[in-house]
Amino acid sequence: MTLKLALPKGWIQGYTAAFLQRAGFEYPDYRESSRSYRPKSRTFPDLFTKVLHEKDIAIQVASGNYDLAICGSDWTQELLIKYHSDAIVKVRDLGYGQRELYLCTSRFSGLHSVEAVKSMSGPVRIVSEYPNLAEAFALKLRLPNFRIFPVWGATDVYPPEHADLAIVSATSEDELGEKGLIPIARILSGNAWLIANRNSLQQKNMSSILTPFYRTSPQVNEEEEELTISEIDSEDKFESSVFPDGVVSLAFPDGHQQTHVIRFLKDVNFNLKGYRTPLPTRRPAPVFDGISVKVVRPQDMPLQVANGNFDLAITGQDWLADQLYQFPSSPVEELVNLGFGRVRIVAVAHNDVPAESISDLKRLMRSGEIPVLRIASEYTNIADKYARDNHLSPYKVIPSWGATEAFLPEDADVLIENAETGSTLKKNNLKIIENLFESTGCLIGNSNSLVDPVKKDRIGKLIKIFEKGIEGKGG
């Protein structure tokens, strides 16, 4: 019987690798910046180990795909607070990787305390990578009106103009200060934990794997982490500021698309001081008056443009489609197809699966070889529509926050992924079974932004500048 262990990627990876080394697991391929998805333990050669995005781990353990996992307690709570499940057992506080979840505002915000938040007249806008905890927080505080904006990242850049509060994880208050945020309350605190699937604990002998964890982690004062609201006095850190009307708000992407955008902006002489890799700031200063720029995740832009936080944004058509499939009446539209960063959105299967097309997959489903089709994707709405349109019943969409190619073949049957050249897929022993559509970078806008005449004029000028870049390429 093979036991399955999931380990986290990301900032906690180095600490986890050091812990496992101390515990005697010996993973030569799991280190601070290693990229292997399936490291092997020399001590436990029969243990199947997968490296997943930390946000994906709790759901994988809850659904029984993994017997054991290491995961920050914040992400476990994020799942359990919304989906009351007893499928996850928190086994051991591992004593490292402490993080706190802070309720923050900007230093230019008028919200200086939890009491001020409670007495806000309009809806309280809360931005967070932890939408379930954010909702639980709002309910606990009995906020009469609130909006939760789930984001993929760059949470710190939203307040004060584009959100009233940010719920952010950090290792210290100083870390928040560097991002221009001021914590007004601490709402959750916890270390990395060893978690287990309840059925696995009840039915499988996992003692050989559990023992080194118990031997190595110090006996810590395990307090049950619960959502609490402990206020932090930050009164003297606030400053006042005025945000002028009529300013056009732009969002530019970080990550993979950024290099394309930098090149494009250079071509159209749109100078943006501080928009380079690595990013020195998420608020680069534009040369034009009357516009403000923030750098956010391209995944978050369609939603942020729809709700009026940004007037214009550069993202990909893939993310725009994902948004419109979920919210068909969303007031966000493509204004200019910028033509760069061309990728194909594809359905992908593992090379070992005897399917070259979607009809082959359906045949495998009919014959019972695939009882429920598991589709993993970062594009959950594109994946859902794909399954519906192709009548792939029954199916499950498994949301992923990255490294999706690691899901095949054990934890999913199909991926909906983007592919530029297809080399990453090939390297992971995967194949394309269908092309869904092509996606390029595009300028998107909110159809309601044009009501303000000052903004309308500025937006018109900006669109002309961007169109120039296309004409120059004969596009």
């Binding site: 607070i81 909702e135 009995r142 009469p144 009106n145 939760i148 709700n307 979920q326 919210f327 009446s329």
Partner: protein, 416 residues
């Protein structure tokens, strides 16, 4: 492939539906006769209708079904209605705020998550709400209406339990707890644990003794409330008006000979309750409950308008008896001995005729079990005439070669 029903969802079987419809029908006709108007609010409401303090407790809110609607890009969440009274209050504010008194009733389903999947996550409620300045007759009207409904449903015996959430709110304030502590304690009382009042430290012996009496005794007469008033410590005199409030209802129940029990420990209920609360029991089973909610209308955006209401839970009323006579008119199985197309034509025509007389008629498809029917009717063609054979399944008696008129007469005679 077998696709089971969703976890936590229940099918209602034909017998359940008969009981449900009977309950619903008695509830509706009684309410309409008392001047209540039936409404139906949408299944989807904005989440924030339920999030203000004084509406639903955080514990209840943590179990509601919330999600982003198709146009939820603004971040605003919607919810599958977890409660009937709050949407009715919203309905009143939106549509009827100028009417001095509104009598509303509804039969609606509510949704609330339950972890084991053993209990249904969808519950039905037959609710009546009386909104406007009607105190104290309003509470009395609601209790009398509820008792009439239970009586018409032949549910017996019925006992009424009375308590007073306003009394607890006043008590917690008067014994000197800060606001946060008051809210915390009230939450526990509303979830059914009033005994926490015994554990509040720092109270004088007089107050402690009064709280003990309040929770331990079960009053069966107006005298009980008089007794409480006479041992009320000076510090708690503000609760006197709550006790007097109850006394009026108790006297009314006494005068009609209705069994009741004043049980302050049974304060279980919703956070929006502000005054008297009541529960209806039969054979140890809670059938429904209600209470006064004077702050709710203003919490959902209306003026300060007092109100109270009650609800029955049809899926808990398995005490409603459905006997054979109520399960519908007499059933007939109709068989044709004529070739197919012509036979079908006559079958539909004859079945229509019998249905018009009030019988349930099913056409024989050759698969039905004859035992399920009171009458078997078959027909054949003799020349131009249709002749009928009739079997009474309950007696085994057969009559043959009947004309249409004779058939109807024989059925009528047999039904007697």
């Amino acid at each position: 492939m077998k696709i089971p029903r969703c976890k936590g969802a229940n099918d209602l079987m034909p017998q359940d539906m008969l009981r449900f419809r009977r309950m619903e029908e008695v509830f509706r006709t009684s309410c309409l006769a008392w001047g209540y108007k039936e409404i139906r609010t949408p299944t989807l409401e904005y989440l924030h209708l339920f999030t203000s303090a004084g509406t639903l407790t955080p514990e209840m809110l943590s179990r509601v079904y919330t999600f982003l609607d198709w146009d939820g890009w603004s971040g605003e969440r919607v919810v599958l209605r977890p409660d009937g009274t709050i949407p009715a209050a919203r309905f009143y504010v939106e549509n009827m705020r100028n009417s001095s008194v509104a009598r509303l009733c509804y039969v609606e389903n509510m949704f609330s998550f339950e972890g084991t999947g053993q209990k249904s996550r969808e519950r039905w409620q037959c609710g009546a709400e009386l909104i406007g300045e009607t105190e104290p007759q309003g509470d009395a009207e609601l209790i009398m209406l509820a008792l009439e409904i239970l009586d018409k449903l032949n549910v017996s015996p019925v006992s009424v339990k009375l308590s007073h959430v306003g009394l607890f709110k006043t008590l917690l304030r008067e014994i000197g707890l800060d606001e946060e502590e008051q809210a915390r304690r009230l939450k526990e009382i509303l979830s059914g644990d009033a005994s926490i009042l015994n554990n509040i430290e720092g109270q004088s012996p007089g107050v402690r003794r009064f709280l003990n009496l309040l929770l331990d005794l079960r009053g069966k007469s107006p005298g009980f409330l008089e007794n409480l008033n006479s041992v009320l410590p000076g510090k708690l005199k503000a609760v006197k008006h709550c006790i007097d409030d109850l006394a009026q209802i108790v006297e009314l129940l006494d005068s009609i000979g209705q069994d009741y029990e004043i049980d302050f420990a049974s304060g279980e209920g919703f956070e929006y309750y502000t005054g008297m609360v009541f529960q209806f029991y039969s054979r140890g089973k809670l059938l429904g409950n209600g209470g006064r909610y004077d702050e709710l209308i203003s919490l959902v955006g209306g003026d300060h308008v007092p109100a109270s209401g009650f609800a029955f839970f049809p899926n808990r009323i398995d005490l409603v008896r459905i006997d054979e006579a109520e399960s519908g008119p007499v059933k007939i199985l109709l068989t044709s001995n004529i070739e197919l197309v012509e036979g079908m034509k006559y079958s539909f025509e004859i079945a229509g005729l019998l249905r018009a007389e009030g019988y349930i008629v099913q056409l024989d498809m050759g698969k039905d079990s004859e035992a399920d029917y009171h009458w078997l009717v078959s027909f054949e063609k003799k020349g131009k005439q249709i002749l009928f054979n009739l079997t009474d399944q309950t007696t085994g008696e057969e009559q043959s070669q009947l004309s249409r008129k004779q058939l109807l007469e024989a059925l009528k005679a047999g039904a007697k």
